[in-house]
Amino acid sequence: MTKPKKQTRRTFLKLLGVTGAGLVIGITVTRDRRSPFPANDLALEPDAFLQITPENVVNFFLPHAEMGQGVYTGLTTLIAEELDISPEKIQVHHANAHAAYRHPEFRMQITGGSTSIKVRYQPLRQAAANARALLLDAAAEQLAATRSDLTTANGDVVWNGKHFPYGDFATTAASLKLSDDASLKETAEFRYIGGDVPRLDARAKTTGDAMFGLDVEIPNMHRAVLVRCPVIGGAPKSVNANAARETDGVTDVVTIFNGVAVVATSYWQAKKAADKLEIEWDYPALQRQSSAEIRAAMEAALEHDDGKEIYVEGSGAAALDDANSVVEATYWAPYLAHAPMEPMNCTARIEDGNCDVWVGTQVPELARGLAAFHAGIGKRHVTIHQKFLGGGFGRRGMADYVSEAVAIAKESGKPVQLVWSREDDTKNSYYRPASLTKYRAGLGSEGRIESWSVKRVGPNILPHIVEHMVDGMLPAATPDGIVSWLSDRPHGVFKSLVGDPFSVEGLFEDYDIANKEVRHVTHDPGLRASYWRSVGHSYSGFFKESFVDELAAKSGKDPVEFRLAHLSDDSVLRRAIELAADKGAWATGSAPGVFNGFAAHTSFGAGVAQIAEVSIENRKIRVNKVTCAIDCGVVVNPDIVKANVESAIIYGLTAALYGDITLVDGQVEQGNFHDYTVMRMADSPQIDVHIVSSTRDPVGVGEPGLPPVAAAVANAVFAATGQRLRDLPLKLA
């Protein structure tokens, strides 16, 4: 670890107010010495990802969570390519918590930040290539053949026209020395990468066979329903559980750190009994917060508080004084819940000093740490059994449901499956934080943006994330990798950052403007907040791209031309804008009765541009079509890239048109899909996704489709009505 990064880390910890609180810096996480594999003495195990058995089974241990984004197929494709075997022949297994599966950049085991393909692209291909080379060495030895006479074809070693399955050489290969530098295929030689390998999990996900966390069954499993404080963060003060205990099927009623759990032999019995609990709560300070006051306080802060300087380029906001004209606008984005289709859940068993946890999570290693903490045992006695995730979107990047399930298992002494209701899920999320942001821009004589000043008011997510991680990861580590990564992103501009990068990411980077200033005012009402699909970009894409559209209109310029005029020739975003404008026939204009809006945004390394075609029916906004172009580097699976972008657009449209989490006396008002509306088929648009052909290494795909879409719609609404809608969700006056 280099010195400047340590510096960054200390600054970061100070920011969070956790220095001096007994945090030990610099202790590395204990290496996990257990083998990540099921025991097989005869198999070839060149690394933690691959196991080739004498029975000719090729096992791949998937180091990332499959939550719909397609890593189950994409990462397996990387292995298949270099091992020279068709992807369907590979048995894919969810990797459990183990140090070997740590994210190379975050240095803990995590699926997030649209990084899985990006960080595994090289290492997994190398791992598979090394294994293939070793199998060839073994085959040469076993067959007494000349190594150069051997080749491979779809899982076989081929010699003199004869085919021998890889498994024939597994045991010999396991005894040979593995080299780590087998040569990789040239792009032109790719057989699977860049082709549309059909999703390897599609069949199981259409027959009901795919196993999600909630589908787990273990012997003697009980179901638990947890009643939490109506204001997140409260704890039970007194409990009357008499009626609940007398309900059929109930075996235990236990109090844990954040609520009271009913444990029963079936879910329905637990749920009915939970309704009978009478609980008095110790309410947290959040109880004094309601949405109207939160907004008013943030407006006051925007007006009166200069905040912290986060970033300055040129002469910053001072340059506004020299502008021909100054344009300003203020935008709002509310709190949001993720609402994955599978509500949070976790199955836990504590037995003979061991704790087993079955769960679908983006953070198995954190889950293990939290389970160890709540079970009161060492991490090495905890096993995480990873399952398919019924949606993640960042929500499963937190592991509170694991803490709860393990605490209930410990208190009740029963193996339990904790089942969250939809209401539990909506009311106990780690929310996308609300944000109020004001832009001021100075326009020069040519209608060029000469200066760009932005101030964001709102909560930071990092303190909430760190607080959540403390019990599971400290004192061993707040992983250096995460801190380094955060301080390096994006474009290296956060090196000297004194704020939470997630809070301001995307507000200012995209366009070439001589003078920029970014300020931040932290205002946190206390509602817990965290990653939500595309994180800060989820609002900054809307803010920035709405504002650029306003500036284009003020300058009398075409929105596409205006954007391109502020992008360098080699900009990733430029390529996406040009392709979207071309494919969506931007220059032709829209048909009668429909209106086009444009937006573009870079996030997670990918440039995305979109045209939203909107019509207004009975003062309601209808999105008919979205044309999208993405530049995400080399594409491993074009169809899955498109699926991710379609998904992000629809997820983003839900936020654009409906999403709003509000508080009354600290309680989240929304509970289920009737009051937390999500997009349904009848309202979803036709979506055309186009991929910019590129040879740069792959970047993110799961999130970048989301940030521009709300602005594209808002800009189309302006074209249709002349109204600038600056608050999310978008509502016509």
């Binding site: 259409t206 027959t207 209701s421």
Partner: protein, 161 residues
């Protein structure tokens, strides 16, 4: 004891009569393909076919299916013998997280039985009770249209099953 048929097999259960069918099928009969998403009949994740209709089973007490025929995703088709819709789902790369897809397939199968040639609006109407947070709607629609035309081709050539 409440008796009904589950994927063609006669079954009986001693689950409390007010237990929603979803939880009886999942927790007592251990068929896990039907999912819990909302518990209020709003999302369709729990859809099963009851006497040929797509029903939200999270709000249907098991007593209501006494002597009736219940079909879950496990009864619609299998890996070895997939329903034409399941094949179309795979061909269109529909599932993302996959959690909603059992319910989507159940609703789609009922739609195609009742309307072998649905328009886009008719598909919207039949499928809008089923939420997909991964936003697979465009692919679901494409898969339904493909499956519908394949079924019509089979019917036209006189070898429909």
């Amino acid at each position: 004891m409440i008796s009904f048929t589950l994927n063609g097999d006669p079954v009986e259960t001693d689950a409390p009569a007010d237990t929603p069918l979803l939880w009886v099928v999942r927790d007592y009969f251990k068929l896990k393909g039907s999912k819990y998403g909302c518990g209020l009949g709003l999302c369709g994740a729990c859809s099963m076919r009851v006497d040929g209709q797509s029903v939200r089973t999270c709000i249907l007490p098991v007593s209501a299916v006494a002597d009736r025929a219940v079909m879950t995703i496990e009864g619609l088709g299998s890996k070895a013998q997939p329903h034409v819709l399941q094949d179309a789902w795979v061909a269109h790369g529909v599932p993302q997280c996959g959690y909603c897809q059992s319910g989507q397939l159940i609703s789609a199968s009922v739609l195609l039985e009742q309307n072998p040639n649905p328009t886009s609006d008719e598909i919207d109407a039949a499928m809008s009770g089923n939420i997909c947070r991964c936003g697979t709607y465009p692919r679901i629609k494409g898969a339904i249209q493909d499956a519908a035309s394949q079924l019509r081709r089979e019917t036209d050539s006189g070898n429909a099953s």
